[in-house]
Amino acid sequence: METNKMMSVLGSVTSIRVLGVISALLLLLPGCASRNIKAAYVKQIMVASDIHRDTMTAVGKAYKRGMINDSQLAVFRVSGKTVEVSLRASKEALSGYLKGESTLSQLSRVLSVLQDDLAELLQSWEEVLK
């Protein structure tokens, strides 16, 4: 029973690590993989939004199964909220850039914050499960 629970926790940690690696690749690659840089930014927002959704849903599942406690849930919630705010700001900044209302450097700053916040969210798993 205890072994099963441990394997389940390890599976979750690994899943999140895998998600982290994939997200890092997807966030770094678009600039090289896409010939249209604006399309690459749209893809980044789409992928980041998917990562936020999947990670926070996984947090809910982990809490329900007793793999994380109330205080650990609170840590994830704060990180998730931070990513959510960054995502909304990035979407707005990109929308402005596509309409010619803001510059590339303004957009890059917001996207850079989003990448940091995403990395922090994924790192929360490591901190909590130490």
Binding site: T14, S15, V18, L19, I22, L26, S34, R35, N36, K38, A39, V42, K43, I45, M46, V47, S49, D50, H52, R53, D54, M56, T57, A58, V59, G60, K61, A62, Y63, K64, L73, F76, R77, G80, K81, V83, E84, L87, R88, K91, L94, S95, L98, K99, G100
Partner: protein, 59 residues
């Protein structure tokens, strides 16, 4: 290598989201104009963190 199927699953889900968007519009994101990209971007849903956690607890 144990987790290879999981890696493939996550990659395929992400790619399918992008591909389905492109397919639905009959055009790749790379070939879209700024206006079309803005329209696609407006369709990206950023969900509330608390709602997502709740959804995970209920699933």
């Amino acid at each position: 290598m144990r987790y290879r199927p999981l890696v493939e699953l996550i990659v395929s889900i992400t790619l399918s989201v992008i591909q389905s968007l492109e397919r639905n519009r009959g055009k790749r994101l790379d070939d879209m104009t700024d206006e079309e990209l803005a329209e696609v971007l407006s369709g990206v849903i950023i969900e509330d963190t608390d709602d997502l956690i709740k959804k995970g607890m209920e699933s």
